[in-house]
Symmetry: C2
Subunit: 343 residues, 2 copies
Amino acid sequence: MTRIDRLRERLEEPLLVTNLVNIRYLCGFDSSNAALLVEPDRVRLFTDFRYIDEARAVPDVEVVQTKRALIAELAETLVGRVGFETVLPYAQYEALAGGGLELVPRSGMVEAMRAVKDEDELTVIRRACKITDRAFERLLDVRFIGRRERDVAWDFAEIFRHEGAEGMAFEFIVGSGPTGSHPHGRAGDRKIGPSELVVIDAGCSVDGYSSDYTRTFSTGPLDARLREAYEVVATAQDAALGGIRAGLTGVEADALARAIIDSSDFRGAMGHGLGHGLGLDVHEDPRLSTESTDMLVSGNVVTVEPGIYVSGEFGIRIEDDVVVTANGIENLTHLRKDLVEVG
Amino acid sequence: MTRIDRLRERLEEPLLVTNLVNIRYLCGFDSSNAALLVEPDRVRLFTDFRYIDEARAVPDVEVVQTKRALIAELAETLVGRVGFETVLPYAQYEALAGGGLELVPRSGMVEAMRAVKDEDELTVIRRACKITDRAFERLLDVRFIGRRERDVAWDFAEIFRHEGAEGMAFEFIVGSGPTGSHPHGRAGDRKIGPSELVVIDAGCSVDGYSSDYTRTFSTGPLDARLREAYEVVATAQDAALGGIRAGLTGVEADALARAIIDSSDFRGAMGHGLGHGLGLDVHEDPRLSTESTDMLVSGNVVTVEPGIYVSGEFGIRIEDDVVVTANGIENLTHLRKDLVEVG
């Protein structure tokens, strides 16, 4: 059964899919301007001139060429009762609502399908993770001390390229010393010093699917407090990897690691969730966090990435990518977890 | 007067800014989760733990730390009549509307400010363009024939790095032979052959601002039809560069080039608009196209990029970045326009 057929089984009315990643997932069509209208016995793919050749190569859909203002054109031409994805910007919703459609808000229908990976998807993600394993191993040959975070990030991208990555999954994070305390900082102009912690968050894309790893390195002997913090994060991650399985809620999964950090000297220092789904988007369902409303099921691919962040001082994060199974996990990340020194 | 003060002058009610690029423009704060509430005599910046250090460094705003589900928290805490940006996803609009706010849809208020660059912005964009000039010159040293588009794109990124780019503005396009006929194709696995056209669309980012150039090269002698098509695009671009000035509509600007292509043997082959604004987003206002509703004003920075695309055969595009002035343009791109052969 195709993905579109599986979606149909869940629909109470035709669904107008406008999330471009959802369109890619459903029919393989990758563009910056498209909509897919899934009805019981037909599927129409709307896009503009720029992508029309690629659209015509998509099997089992009727292709309709529109102007660039695609939503405005749909508002003029479509009628009837149609579900729309609530990720749609309000302005486009307003344009659609001004036409002949009776609109029903529908949230997360394709995203819920995407959260559970099929074998083809797992194969691709495994390939991205294999490349990422090799790239992180080769990162140990890169010079850190005295160089800008930005330059280390570039070198790492070059390594990924040589290992066969099709692209970078996101802008790599290289956070050294105090910069590491910003969980989503980027690689900046700061020169990496000796005896610091350096957080490296990187991944690659293969056929649209991403890997997303983090390791934290030292650039020389560290004081006892930093070493202790590292041990706490490693222990927290180990507990999470040992406890995650289908049937846990995202909140329960998060708590496996958070409880350990919060019972250490670094209480409250894990300033983000334990992890997130990973697939065609680098951040997708399910979410593993104190705010999550998700339940883990077999076939989810998620990151497991506890961290400790002390503002102005340092950051530590250790992140693996895993497949959730009925009894536990399959860890796709094959890298050591002890504190490794780089030069 | 600060940008926030200038925005205030345009407001009929407080504005809740949720577009992250608009927030960066207004107060310099760059994150993946924030909102900025601009009221007559106070400004509040909402963000979560991950960005709280950076938020506290923003001058003249009150920082409010929220949970990750930021919009849900605002819905619970804010009251009164507030404008919201209609780029907000419908789901978030619905969440906000469920709280104590009286919501007024407001469209493009900050975007209209961003379309007119100030001197600081122009300085940064000029820097990005200088780097891009040098990078395109050095591209001629790269081997094309027999290599994959993807590998040429990587080499080009490496050149940008050496020339001082902070990052790539977007995923570079390298479209060779028939692949070039997809205006938004990427760099793929196709091996570049001899006597083909190769479209290279690339740019870099400096302090968040982007450059965006395209040149089309040949990999050896071309048949007369391809050479003629190149001349038509070059003539069309020249006409556009000569005619664009403040006071023209986006439709009129587009027509300067389109008229030439449509009166050639390649009628109808310019399958996209002439150009787009360029700034903190690679595509922003104003738009130069048959569908544009914009009017050009002094201080706009736009791309001028006519093209000819013949499906399954070839594509050609020549793209400069220019500042719109009262009497014409200042061209920020200093590269030759004749057909250059690469090896």
